[in-house]
């Protein structure tokens, strides 16, 4: 049995004029020590997916269908008490902006000790020891001093390290990182990424990395999910997808990356923008922006086609492949 299995997950937001599906037909599983990347443009449903794994979608949103099985237990309908035991303890999460995720009026130590005490019977002294040890793991200099400091006394990179240390406190099995480096500058980004990678490898933690940065994800993850308008449209080994993307959307994403080796050419872009979830689109959600779109694309929803190690939700995969071979 996989550590975490998401089956047919559907998340809807009840709005005044009917409900809107933010996630549909999400299926994947995570094994211990896996490293999974989730990419997609803003509004594709990446963060909603991250939150729904922990069943933390707040109103008006809710999980309307499907299961999130963690060690066989369905988190989507677990009582609040048991859910709390899993959050932060077995599955933890790192957020985008370390300036915002630490409570400004509590010291680092208070916030760390509180987390430990929420999950175990432990004395303040022992909790402090564990906190110091975790801060050392994320290479915070003089951790004893840091414990008594407030978040505003520390730099952004340092705060993100502390957030990571908090997420490691209970030795979780899975860490969900929701754009953990977006708010940091590039040099710190690299450091933090390396740190997360190292910690996951050392502790055999599964990592679910949510980002829109293909560069970051290609270095770190083994599996890659590409999301578009609330669905996973392509999934497979990261290397395969980066080197040979099958879905026109993924191809567009990769072509839009600046290449160091080519000079003087304009970057390609995907025209248009993602449809609003309110629009009732039939067929493939990408069809209005797709260069290859045919009649079938506007009519029926594509199902997954296996292509190499990947699964692609596109009607035209076979066709495009044949064309490639012919030309």
């Amino acid at each position: 049995m996989p550590l975490l299995q998401v089956k047919n997950l559907e998340v809807s937001f009840a709005l005044r004029n009917g409900s809107v599906k933010a996630l549909q037909d999400i299926n994947f599983s995570v094994e211990r020590g896996d490293r999974i990347g989730i990419v997609g443009e803003s509004g594709a449903g990446k963060s909603v997916l991250g939150f729904s794994i922990l069943n933390l979608i707040s109103r008006p949103g809710s999980i309307t269908n499907g299961e999130v099985l963690f060690e066989g237990r369905n988190l989507a309908n677990l009582p609040a008490e048991e859910l709390r035991n899993i959050r932060g303890n077995r599955i933890s999460m790192i957020f985008q902006d370390p300036m915002m995720t630490l409570n400004p009026v509590l010291t680092i130590g208070t916030q760390m000790i509180e987390c430990l005490k929420a999950h175990r019977q432990i004395t303040d002294e022992n909790a402090r020891k564990i906190a110091i040890q975790k801060l050392q793991q994320v290479y915070i200099p003089s951790p004893e001093t840091r414990l008594d400091q407030y978040p505003h006394e520390l730099s952004g990179g340092m705060r993100q390290r502390i957030v990571i240390a908090i997420s490691l406190l209970m030795d979780p099995e899975i860490i969900i990182a929701d754009e953990p480096t977006t708010a940091l500058d590039v040099t710190i980004q690299a450091e933090i990424m390396e740190l997360i990678l190292e910690l996951c490898e050392r502790n055999d933690v599964a990592l679910i990395m949510i980002t829109h940065d293909l560069g970051v994800i290609s270095q770190i993850t083994k599996q890659l999910f590409v999301m578009y308008a609330g669905r996973i449209i392509e999934q497979g080994p990261t290397k395969e997808i980066i080197n040979d993307a099958q879905h026109p959307y993924t191809q567009g994403l990769i072509n839009a990356l600046p290449q160091m080796t080519v000079r003087g050419e304009r970057l390609q872009q995907i025209r248009g923008s993602m449809p609003s979830l309110n629009d009732s689109l039939t067929g493939c959600a990408f069809n209005p922006r797709c260069d290859h779109a045919e009649d079938i694309c506007t009519e029926t929803l594509p199902s997954y086609t296996a292509s190499g190690g990947c699964k692609v939700a596109c009607h035209l995969v076979e066709k495009m492949k044949n064309q490639e071979v012919l030309s």
Partner: protein
């Protein structure tokens, strides 16, 4: 340490942990107090009042609660500096022959106790209701806030007059006089909680959208813990500001009720009941029984309001003046 160690850019300052005392003297609070003369004076006066209230039994030359020390022959003596005054009674005596200075000291004590007690009660109810309403939202929020609106639509004085009059009528004046202070605290406390509830709810609505609340939920903390431990401390500045103003308001309410004869009994007078007891004599020339406690009350309320204004400016970073 490995290549991961971040250089300590802030230098020495970052490694030095300040003691509580150092933190205080380096704080924005202390700095703003140092540059604001009005705030300093208000602070001093307020501390003086608190000091007077706490040490009233030590400072007061007579015990106004002790009937033995009162001589009716000494009644309505003017202050010692005016004609006919006696040096024993610095501020003169009231209509029962009590030393006015001692009575004012004790009265300040009563007024402050009622003011602070009522505000503590208001704050307790209001903060709990505001936190729950703001955090839980939805129907519960609407329900609690409508209750607050209903409560607000009755004026404090009206509620207090009805409750106190009914209590007095049904349980007798004697029991009422014994319980007067508790009753006043309860009535003023309950009548004014919506002020806190609304303020707290508004701040909670802003705070709960912040990511640290999500982070706390992700850690697996309970809702109660998130509300009281994480959100409440972040809403403290408006709470502190309205507290100062509310203490002043409660003191005024108590004085008004006492003036109407529904407050503290004359045997245990607050500033309000002193003013009231002297009011009948003001036309016979005994101005001091009303005017001096009146001045004491006005200064106390003024000082608290000024402090509240100053505190609001200090605690609101958007209002930095210079």
């Amino acid at each position: 340490m490995s290549k991961h160690s971040t250089p300590n850019i802030n230098g020495k300052g970052n490694n030095h942990v300040y003691t509580l005392q150092e933190r205080f003297f380096r704080s924005h609070f202390w700095h703003s107090l140092k540059v604001d003369l009005v705030a300093q004076i208000c602070f001093l006066v307020f501390i003086l009042y608190v000091f007077m209230a706490i040490f009233a039994p030590l400072i007061a030359p007579f015990d106004p609660y002790d009937p033995v020390s009162i001589d009716i022959m000494n009644s309505e003596l003017p202050p010692s500096w005016s004609e006919g005054g006696e040096s024993d009674f610095w501020l003169g005596t009231d209509n029962q022959g009590r030393d006015l200075w001692s009575t004012i000291l004790y009265g300040t004590r009563v007024s402050l106790m009622i003011g602070i007690g009522a505000v503590l009660l208001q704050a307790f109810i209001g903060i709990c209701v505001g936190l729950i309403a703001g955090y839980k939202g939805g129907r519960l929020d609407s329900l609690l806030m409508r209750i607050a609106d209903v409560q607000l639509s009755f004026s404090t004085l009206m509620v207090a007059i009805i409750v106190l009059a009914v209590f007095q009528a049904s349980f007798g004046t004697e029991l009422y006089q014994e319980l007067a202070m508790v009753m006043l605290i309860l009535v003023i406390g309950i009548a004014e909680w919506p002020q806190y509830a609304r303020t707290v709810r508004a701040s909670v609505l802003a705070e709960k959208e912040k990511e640290y609340v999500d982070a706390a939920r992700v850690i697996g903390l309970s809702n109660t813990r998130i509300m009281f431990r994480h959100i409440l401390p972040n809403t403290l500045s408006p709470i502190l500001v309205i507290s100062t103003v509310q203490v002043a308001n409660a003191i005024i309410s108590e004085a008004a009720l006492s003036f109407l004869g529904l407050g503290m009994p004359i045997s245990e007078p607050s500033l309000g009941s002193l003013i009231s007891s002297g009011f009948e004599y003001i036309f016979s020339g005994a101005w001091w029984i009303t005017m001096i406690p009146g001045a004491v009350l006005v200064i106390l309320v003024l000082v608290m309001n000024l402090l509240g204004d100053w505190l609001r400016d200090v605690l609101n970073p958007k209002l930095y003046k210079d």
